[in-house]
């Protein structure tokens, strides 16, 4: 089966990758699911876009995609930013799959740096684009050492790092890529999602897959798996909170982006998850920004 494109007559194998590459990635995915949080090396391919644009996530998506899938792609929560638009177009063209902006209607969601606000359900798979999969990398640059640390479950260094945060700032100052422990065994980088999203990973009903293209690693969190953010008894894990609700939809329980409105320093806070915000506005919810405009 292949997908014919309308514009240039070029024909690609379904979902771009050749079949042997897909099988290699598929085998890595099965091992990743069997050992939650462990980084499986894979022979990452060059994709028709630069590293850093989600080549790992794209290879995972291409390997699991089936023709009946409905694909949603988000970049920092938004469906309409460059990275999301180009990846969505890529799969429309090379796989001919249906796409959507609705979280609820998607069977496969590829994401850069956010988890949708709406709880995911069992029929869904969330694919993360990961820049640096190794949570210990900035503490120990040698792969041979970090691999040994994972093998021996030697994670004291990570706690020292969080402790140093407290010593210096009075609180744990890590706000994104906040380390988690998966299934009480491996410490995992949740990709640079804000720590606001960490609790959504815990016992999530959907399968979560992570692809790092440049570093050539795949890892996974199966449904209903314990994902615990590291903390201390006297400094428990906390998520971000905002003083004001979303200016557009009035939501008080979502991750907000700060938008500069003019050169006088006027700011507005809006939901980072565009589908969540739009859906709420359609349901009649209004934020302070909307009321002021009327």
């Amino acid at each position: 089966m292949s997908t014919e494109t309308q514009d240039d007559g070029l024909e690609y194998n379904f979902a771009y990758l050749d079949e042997q590459t897909k099988r290699m990635i598929r085998r890595a995915l099965l091992k990743a699911v069997a050992v939650p949080g462990y980084q499986v090396p894979f022979a990452g391919r060059e994709m028709p876009m630069p590293y850093g644009w989600g080549t790992g996530g794209i290879q995972v998506t291409a390997s699991i995609l089936e023709p009946d899938d409905v694909l949603k792609v988000i970049d920092q929560g938004a469906d309409d930013t460059t990275n999301a638009v180009s990846i969505r177009k890529f799969f429309q063209r090379v796989a001919g799959v249906a796409t959507t902006e609705k979280t609820e209607g998607a069977t496969l969601i590829q994401t850069r740096h956010r988890i949708p606000e709406m709880p995911l359900h069992e029929g869904q798979i969330l694919v993360y684009q990961v820049p640096i999969p190794e949570p210990l990398r900035f503490l120990e640059p040698r792969e041979t050492e970090t691999r040994k640390m994972h093998a021996l479950e030697e994670y004291g260094l990570m706690h020292v790092k969080l402790y140093e945060d407290i010593a210096r700032h009075g609180h744990i100052a890590t706000t994104y890529a906040y380390p988690v422990k998966v299934n009480d065994r491996y410490i995992m980088d949740p990709s640079p999602t804000p720590k606001f999203d960490n609790p959504k990973m815990n016992r999530c009903a959907a399968l979560q897959l992570f692809g790092a293209g440049r570093e050539k690693r795949i890892y996974a969190v199966p449904p209903y798996t314990d994902v615990v953010s590291l903390d201390f008894e006297d400094h428990p894990f906390e998520i971000q909170a905002w003083d004001n609700p979303c200016s557009l939809c009035g939501e008080t329980n979502s991750f907000l982006d700060e938008v500069i409105m003019d050169d006088q320093g006027t700011r507005m806070f809006v939901c980072s998850d565009t589908d969540h915000c739009t859906t709420r506005q359609q349901q009649g919810y209004q934020g302070p920004g909307q009321e002021a405009a009327e």
């Binding site: 290699m24 099965l30 023709p67 399968l207």
Partner: protein, 200 residues
């Protein structure tokens, strides 16, 4: 064996491999949940439909596979060689995939590769051919992929076989991941699943 003896593989290799893999992935992500096969390909004896689906979707020249003596014949080896290019491996310790009748499970498990501390992914995947999934007794499963618990009772499993899987689970994060392949469905027990045996 001549070319005319060969049975066909997947009718639409790209699509059929994609939907088969999603079923296998779903089974591995939700241990003990029995999944119907989305497609079937012709089955050379003495294999069954799910085992053929797994083989055609996952094997290729990079994956040496092992066959139990009861499943080993020129027709199967020729079938896999033609459709996947995978090399047959007579030494079970070196195999990445092992296919065997469920009756052999206890014996086979102790010979399969369980990976290394630094690379637990370098372990074998076991494919046990079972007659079905509605046997009495069985096990209660818990762990990643299972919301609370899940009862699982594939046919042909003995106490010895369940003991072998319990020992395998204790090796986590090392260990073998097992796919139970039936005539029209499949299920999986990865190494991360905890088992409790139930009275028959």
């Amino acid at each position: 064996m001549s070319l005319t003896d060969l049975a066909p593989g997947f009718a639409d290799p790209v699509r059929d491999a994609a939907v088969s893999f999603r079923t296998i992935l779903d089974a591995m992500a939700r241990p003990g949940d029995v999944k119907s096969l989305p497609v079937t390909a012709p089955v050379p004896a003495p294999f069954n439909a799910a085992a053929i689906c797994v083989a055609l979707s996952l094997l290729d020249p990079d994956t040496p596979y092992w066959l139990a003596p009861d499943l080993r014949n020129d027709r199967i080896i020729g079938h896999f060689s033609f459709h996947t290019g995978a090399p047959f491996e007579a030494d079970i310790h070196k195999a990445q995939f092992a296919f065997f009748p469920v009756a052999d499970l206890a014996r086979v498990m102790k010979d399969l590769s369980i990976g290394t501390d630094e690379y637990p992914d370098r372990s074998a995947t076991a494919i046990a051919l079972v007659p079905g999934f509605d046997s009495a007794g069985g096990v209660r499963l818990a762990g990643p992929g299972i919301e609370t618990t899940c009862d699982f009772a594939p046919g042909g499993m003995t106490t010895d076989a369940w003991n072998a899987l319990e020992r395998n689970a204790m090796l986590f994060p090392l260990g073998v991941d097992t796919i139970f392949a039936g005539p029209d469905s499949l299920a999986a027990i990865p190494r991360s699943t905890r088992l409790t045996q139930l009275e028959a």
